[in-house]
């Protein structure tokens, strides 16, 4: 008789409690990658805002030479060969310290200058993520300031010899994956860790860039991303290129985590400046991202500037828009 009750009791325990099948975590550790993403969003969600890549026209810089702080991040020799009057020559290893110690918030704008606009766009993004909201990039760098520096761009604008193999297929994004693991769990205050990480990328410099996309497209060794408008994507893209709409698809609520955490990612945009900024952002998040230099300007330049649809011309390096602004030589 006793056994009957024991068996009944056990049965009641087993069956009566099965309906609540949630495993309740008793002590949850917050995911450090999630906290890093949260921090970057709280810094202004820069890469998903309309502000990126914060380009500034040469004419505006020229009109404000006395009020803008101009920081030239090129090599010392390039600076000696010609620079904007009043510019500081600060290399990447000194850049953050310079920004931190020169009261840059007292300036309306701080303009970073590089040879072609891409390196400065990379640093602009990192400094914005760090918390400086008045950093800008000289559009197309010194190449748009004066024709004497434009060679770096003029020799790159072209249609790819492999353009015939490009298509307009909508290649699917990958399934969602976890965010890359960046920090050890509980390794410290996330704001301090994030800023240290951003500082390390500034010190490392703009090195994660590539100049050839066609072989990569054929080999399928990297995850190719076209970051921009759908119009750009539909102009034709290397096979296997996946489309991510600018200011939209890399949001946490959208498709950020369709980027593969364990594969190299090569990003191209219109002209390499936005992709440099996106590369910086993704690297801070732990993705193995690289920027394709000069973007669509060295893939399908004549398709962008030609034809009846001129909407993409604004993103092209146009010879007729190169400035004739003065520069000084020496230190």
């Amino acid at each position: 008789m006793k056994n009957k009750y024991y068996i009944l009791a056990v049965l009641v325990l087993l069956t009566g409690c099965l309906k609540d099948d949630i495993n309740i975590p008793t002590d949850i550790e917050l995911n450090s990658s999630a906290l890093l993403l949260k921090f970057l969003e709280e810094q202004g969600n820069y890469i998903n805002s309309s502000e990126a890549p914060s380009l500034i026209e040469p004419a505006e810089v020229f009109a404000n030479l006395n009020s803008y702080l101009i920081v030239d991040v090129r090599t010392n020799q390039e600076f000696i060969n010609g620079h904007i009057q009043g510019a500081w020559n600060i290399n990447n290893t000194e850049l953050l310290n310079f920004i931190l110690t020169n009261n840059v918030n007292s300036y309306q704008k701080v303009v970073l200058v590089s040879a072609d606009g891409q390196e400065s766009a990379y640093f602009t993004c990192l400094l914005r993520l760090y918390g400086f909201n008045n950093i800008f990039t000289l559009k197309f760098g010194m190449a748009y300031w004066n024709i004497d520096f434009a060679g770096v761009w003029l020799e790159k604008i072209k249609n790819s010899p492999n353009l015939h193999s490009y298509d307009s297929i909508n290649y699917p994004k990958k399934p969602f994956s976890s965010l890359p693991a960046v920090f050890e769990q509980n390794s410290g205050n996330i704001q301090d860790l994030a800023k240290q990480r951003i500082a390390s990328f500034i010190a490392k410099g703009f090195v994660d860039k590539m100049d050839d996309i066609d072989e990569i497209a054929i080999s399928n060794s990297m995850y190719l991303v076209c970051y921009g408008s759908y119009l750009l994507y539909q102009k034709g893209h290397p096979p296997n290129t996946v489309f991510y709409m600018e200011t939209e698809h890399l949001k946490s609520v959208k498709d950020l985590q369709t980027l593969p955490p364990n594969q190299e990612i090569l990003i191209y945009d219109y002209n390499g400046q936005l992709s440099a900024a996106v590369t910086a952002y993704l690297q801070v998040l732990g993705y193995n991202a690289k920027s394709f230099l000069f973007g669509a300007n060295q893939l399908l330049y004549y398709n962008i500037i030609g034809g009846y649809d001129t909407r993409l011309r604004a993103y092209a390096f146009l010879r007729g828009y190169i400035g004739n602004f003065p520069y000084v030589t020496g230190m």
Binding site: M1, K2, Y5, L8, A9, V12, L13, G16, C17, D20, I22, I24, P25, T26, D27, I28, L30, N31, S33, A34, L35, L37, K38, E41, E42, N45, N48, F176, S177, S178, L179, K251, S252, V253, K254, Q257
Partner: protein, 267 residues
């Protein structure tokens, strides 16, 4: 005698065994609690999570005193996708950008405040599939095709003739029901509370609907555990009550519940 003791023991085991001590709160005296509230409605924009604290019963409720501004939290969708939540105002936390709640997805709320963990999970039900609805004397009854893991409730609503905006609705469900068996092809009846006389006139006959809500099944535990099945707004404010919440953590109460809505005009 032995049989009586054994029966009593069995009853004790039954009640203790099935009581989820983390979920059901039975103390009535005031104890400060963290209150979490979120409704995740299928195929609509996420309206956020509110984090507040309870206030003593003799204290006038003031959201500025009750809100929590220092919660670190994020959503995890389908165990992978992370969506950080950011404080906006009055205890409300939202994603940086608009988030559409998707049917069938699992949403987890993961957070910490003052070193204490907060956790909840819910699965977003599909919007109810209403086959038809009948207007009875003073209520509306709808017939739906139920699905596994979901529970249902119905409310009457009256819409404006021009804009279609809701101008009046029931405050409560008359009941929350679930499919009684495993036969998901069976039709389930959902009815509203009694409709006020004014809306039973012919002037409203074309503008009165039944809105059927589907919920994650956790809602049934909550609904059935409320004292007298009354609305628990006061509990959200002052705490207490013996309610089965689905948000977990030390001194944490609240609902983080997935739901779907469909409406149909009564025939």
């Amino acid at each position: 005698m032995k049989n009586s003791i054994a029966a009593a023991l069995l009853s004790i085991i039954f009640y203790h065994g099935c009581e989820n001590v983390d979920v059901v709160e039975t103390k009535i005296e005031y104890r400060e609690r963290i209150v979490v509230s979120a409704e995740l409605s299928a195929e609509t924009f996420f309206t956020g999570v509110t984090f507040t604290r309870t206030l003593p019963i003799d204290e006038t409720y003031d959201i500025k005193k009750a809100e929590l501004k220092n919660v670190v939290s994020y959503l995890r969708i389908n165990s992978v996708k992370i969506v950080p939540l950011h404080y906006k105002a009055d205890g409300l936390y939202l994603p940086a950008d608009s988030l559409v709640i998707e049917e069938g997805d699992k949403y987890e709320l993961i957070g910490k405040v003052d070193g204490k963990s907060i956790y909840a999970e819910t699965i977003i039900p599909e919007r109810p599939s209403i086959n038809n609805a009948l207007k009875e004397a003073d209520y509306i009854e709808a017939f739906i095709t139920p699905r596994e893991g979901e529970v249902y409730g119905g409310k009457w609503i009256v819409i404006a003739s021009g804009s279609g905006d809701t101008i009046a609705s029931a405050h409560e469900f008359s009941s929350i029901i679930q499919n009684s068996g495993l036969n998901t092809s069976a039709t389930l009846s959902v009815r509203t509370e009694v409709i006020p006389q004014i809306y039973l006139s012919s002037a409203y006959s074309d503008r009165i609907f039944i809105e059927v809500c589907s919920f994650d099944k956790a809602y049934l535990n909550y609904y059935n555990s409320r004292s007298g099945q009354n609305v628990v707004n006061n509990t959200f404010i002052q705490g207490g009550e013996s309610v089965a919440w689905n948000v977990f953590g030390e001194n944490v109460i609240g609902l983080f519940i997935g739901m779907g809505r469909s409406r149909i005009k009564a025939q």
